[in-house]
Symmetry: C2
Subunit: 121 residues, 2 copies
Amino acid sequence: MAKRKMTSTNSINREKLNDLCGMEYAIDLLGGRWKLLILYKLENRALRFIELKKILPGITDRMLTLQLRELEKDGLLHRTVYPEVPPRVEYRLTDSAEKLIPVWKALERWGDAHREVQLPG
Amino acid sequence: MAKRKMTSTNSINREKLNDLCGMEYAIDLLGGRWKLLILYKLENRALRFIELKKILPGITDRMLTLQLRELEKDGLLHRTVYPEVPPRVEYRLTDSAEKLIPVWKALERWGDAHREVQLPG
DNA sequence: CAGCATCCTACCAGATACTG
DNA sequence: CAGTATCTGGTAGGATGCTG
């Protein structure tokens, strides 16, 4: 089978979509180190580039830019540029992305619970 | 901040756990191309190595082995070896992993729905 | 069957410098 | 402020061959 790229820095091959179940599709769009985390931080609020950078520990400008661009392209983020000086750009969730809120809420709860089990005390 | 490895082929740095929210912890454990998919395929059934390989399109022996070992180490899979010839090894979800079922169910539904929106027709 | 060992490469992602 | 451009190393992950 043809190699399907799957990293945080790629978008899905549109021609291969019919081969994928919803899970694989979702993993393709959200997989990687930063994407889910970025969406999660944008829950119920728009944030600027620099604000995102502050609350995403260790991300570089480059990676943040790349991830934001892909999330935008995949219909998960809105990017709004305000024609001001200095420039201001805000990112917020699309309706599609907001439907993911229950998913990451559940994932977060699980993470907290599982961590307790694995690291008691 | 110290670089925190985050790939499908590493386990979390236990000393850094206090810095992480449940989300980051969960992403660390489940991130990457295969892990969530493997767990998903094991829902409600135990599978053998070769069976997993068949239903995971494109995975290599090497990657499947690596991912299974990490999932086992992180407390998400049970590995049962039956002392037979030829050898038989079965993998099944732990209780912790079973608590993730609602997460990937929701993710799967979202993937299906989002794909419809992005690719009408 | 269920893997491990080895080798190899593409490319992810960090560091740094620069720009409108 | 909100990004690009460029260079680079590390590693994810593929191919192949072998073993208990």
